[in-house]
Amino acid sequence: MENKTIIAETNSKSLSLAGVGEASYIDLYKQHHESIKKHSAAVMNDSRDASFALFEELRFPTTALENYKYSDLKAALAIDYGLNINRIPIPVNPYDVFKCDVPGIQSYLFFVVNDAFYPTMDTKALKLPEGVIIGSLKEIAETRPELLKEYYGKLSTSKKDGLVAFNGAFAQDGFFMYVPKNVQLTKPVQLVNIMRSDVDFMANSHNLIILEEGAKAQLLVCDHTVDEVRFLSNRVTEVFVGEHATYEHYKLENTHTKTTNLSTLLIDQRASSNVIANVITLHNGVTRNTVEIDLDGEHCETQLCGMVIGDKNQQVDNFTSIIHNKPNCNSHELFKYVLDGFAKGGFTGKLLVAKDAQKTTAFQTNRNILLNKTAKMRTKPQLEIYADDVKCSHGATIGSLDETAKFYMQSRGISEPEARLLLMFAFTNDVIEFIRIPALQDRIKMLVEKRLRGELSKCEGCVICQ
């Protein structure tokens, strides 16, 4: 029933010419910006028109842009999606139907359904440490505008990126987390993004994460799609990591092949902070992950890694950027891809060391395995170095499984498929090693193995799926 409104929105957009995707969204905004704003919060609305103007200028990115060379989003963006501008409640209670499939994980669990934060049933029962605020971005923007004002859009609005600008214009809600000075969350926070709709659907949400000085938090983001319709999610996450703060961000995507997942993760690190970001794509349709980490203080430590297992017609492009603005920081980057079927992988590893960032060490590795003749991999590591007292390197390889190692295993009686599996598993293992939540690490090991065995073809795990 409620979906009618979504459909109504769809129709209003569908009035514009088919195929000219951008124009229809531009019309939609022009016609409905009042209701978009009405169902969001003032802090978010402040930059909304500017974001829209920027989107009008930039439009959706195409492969002609250097930064989107390996992300062909044309087909995904041509689909006529519905948008839930009027915030019609979605008929699903994730707490009833979602059962986390990471055995033994103790987490603070939250949901964003499509692009709306799902109200937590009992905040008190969560027993969050004092001062920690987790909830709906829109709500907290209304109740604590002073808290948001300092941060919201500070990393995103200056980005010359069509998807980020689009998000700035259309995002009305999202996930918010605030960890005050010297507070350390002992349990990971789990954010499950569930996509659920009866019609082709687009979700734009904005996440904001603030760790004050000396704070510590782990966030596990899981992307799930539920219904067999085409989904597009365009999410922007801004993370502010204060001095001496420690932040771990694990993003696990396990969505169906009709999903287009566009995610932009922007992290700002202050002096002596420590960040781990791990972006794992187990199963998906079309994925574009942008991860940009700015090191804005001395003695920062950054570990950025990711893994992709792709087959069928899956397409994954990880675009990463680490910018060393200050001296004495260390960054390590590691991405691994295993591609089969007609999968297409893309990787960009931009590493920039600014003029004054002396004594930087930055190492980057991208290794890729193609399992057949139809899978494709494109990789573009790049170093831009403007300081001299640095140690920087990158290495990239594209190849197939090590035949001699496989033969060695076979000669010890291991079957060919099992040898392949072992090698692939070993290949991806070092990315998994960077997960510091033991229960999650074990679970992902198991999922990767299942995935490599071809047993994981759909978003298995959440109860809604079954």
Binding site: K355, Q382, A387, C392, S393, A396, T397, I398, S400
Partner: protein, 478 residues
């Protein structure tokens, strides 16, 4: 050996910066269809050549200058450049007819055009401004069936070969600068090595820009027929002038079955002064095709000159089992900018390519490696290994690496490694402790760092290149 070189080099100045006072036939500045026709008419070209130029010119009008390189290119006014300049006495029949001033110029550059070059075993084609001045050894080479002459002569005497191969590797639509070259190119060198012939000597072209406000647009075409071999050298210098001058050249190489072509460049166009004033804008399209099975093309370049370098000597690996190499040392100092690298396109089966790039940045310069390795779906068993190292001398320069790898076949092995570091202070101290001054130590270390590439150059060039590295970096260590 190094000390000899160091002794010779006491000044860090550009020593090829003199101008030659000779009569020059120069056309008015500006570019139009008339100018294209005028160039063609001055060279008495056949109709097909004029048509080719006009086709390119009309296409060029639709193009825009590329901006993707990591370069800050000031606005270039293409209407303020003269597109044709030639020493007045054209096409000398023998050495006696060559303007003596011109001969002196090349003598000064250390490029004697006399036949005594036989002793050093190098045949030279000298190109001043836009025109090939004199090709030595033409006769002795022709006995072997080798054609080594100016491009204009080739158009006149070997139109079939020129028509067959010109633009077959770099199409006239290829890129902004290549298309411009197709419209206005003035001269260049042409080489044809017939089947089964190993060219017994190094072939060399020496390019010199002399006249003011001119651009140099030469093109070189090298065709190595089946089972042949040739090693080709290219050197370039220009006078010191305050204004910038444009150089937009094309080099095409065709290697047929079992043929091997080695192409070496020592590029030392005037880089501008220490404040970044003047210097050559060097926008060059170089590409070879390994057309036949088992063919091999190797590019070696030492890039020390030019205010701006935009250059990607590339290889199309079409033939099965063909192989390609790219060895590069690029040094930038003061305000120089270089964006250089290669493209390796693997199409045939069992093809291999090897890339070794050594960048050295000093002063306020920016030095980028940009490379593409692409493996097509049918290119079974393609192999590539790339190594790109950058060395930084000083904290005001930049060193950048932009490798692109696109692999569409699972039997490929493509590997890339890059490192960036500053000159190692322990190494300098170690040299100091043995009595070697810091400046000399830097020279030694840099030459050592670049050695793998320098070793690929023919002997005469290697010595020249080592000297150049030393000169280019002088004054870069405080």
């Amino acid at each position: 050996m190094s000390t000899d070189i160091l002794d010779q080099v006491t000044q860090g100045d550009y020593k090829y910066g003199f101008t030659t006072d000779i009569e020059t036939d120069i056309i008015p500045i500006g570019l139009s269809e008339e100018v294209v026709r005028l160039i063609s008419a001055k060279k008495n070209e056949p109709e097909w050549m004029l048509e080719f130029r006009l086709k390119a010119y009309r296409h060029w009008l639709t193009m825009e200058m590329p901006t993707w390189a990591h370069l800050t290119v000031p606005n270039i006014d293409y209407q303020s450049i003269a597109y044709y300049a030639a020493p007045r006495k054209n096409a000398p029949k023998s050495l006696d007819e060559v303007d003596p001033e011109l001969l002196k110029t090349f003598e000064k550059l250390g490029i004697p055009l006399q036949e005594r070059m036989a002793l050093s075993g190098i045949a030279v084609d000298a190109v001043m401004d836009s025109v090939s001045v004199k090709t030595t050894f033409k006769e002795s080479l022709s006995e072997l069936g080798i054609i080594f002459c100016s491009f204009s002569e080739a158009v006149e005497h070997h139109p079939d070969l020129v028509q067959k191969y010109m633009s077959s590797v770099v199409p006239y639509t290829d890129n902004f600068f290549a298309t411009l070259n197709c419209a206005v190119f003035s001269d260049g060198s042409f080489v044809y090595i017939p089947k089964g012939v190993r060219c017994p000597m190094e072939l060399s072209t020496y390019f010199r820009i002399n006249a003011m406000n001119t651009g140099q647009f030469e093109r070189t075409l090298i065709v190595a027929d089946e089972d042949s071999y040739v090693s080709y050298l290219e050197g370039c210098t220009a006078p010191m002038r305050d204004e910038n001058q444009l150089h937009a050249a094309i080099v095409e190489i065709v290697a047929m079955k079992n043929a091997e072509v080695k192409y070496s460049t020592v590029q030392n166009w005037y880089p501008g002064d220490k404040e970044g004033k003047g210097g050559i804008y060097n926008f060059v399209t170089k590409r070879g095709i390994c057309k036949g099975d088992n063919s091999k093309i190797s590019w070696t370049q030492v890039e020390t000159g030019s205010a701006i370098t935009w250059k990607y000597p590339s290889c199309i690996l079409l033939g099965d089992n063909s192989s390609a190499e790219f060895y590069s040392v690029a040094v930038t100092n003061h305000h120089q900018q270089a964006d250089t690298g290669t493209k390796m396109l693997h199409i045939g089966k069992n093809t291999s390519s090897h890339i070794l790039s050594k960048g050295i940045s000093a002063g306020k310069s920016q030095n980028s490696y940009r490379g593409l390795v692409k493996v097509n779906p049918a290119a079974e068993n393609a192999r590539n290994f790339s190594q790109c190292d950058s060395l930084l001398l000083g904290d005001k320069c930049g060193a950048h690496t932009f490798p692109y790898m696109e692999v569409n076949n699972d039997t490929a092995i493509v590997e890339h490694e890059a490192t960036t570091s500053k000159i190692n202070e322990d190494q300098i101290f170690y040299c100091n402790q043995r009595g070697i001054s810091t400046e000399d130590a830097v020279g030694l270390i840099v030459n050592g760092y670049a050695k793998e590439v320098l070793n690929k150059l023919p002997m005469e060039f290697a010595v020249e290149a080592q000297k150049l590295l030393q000169i280019t970096l002088e004054g870069s260590v405080g």
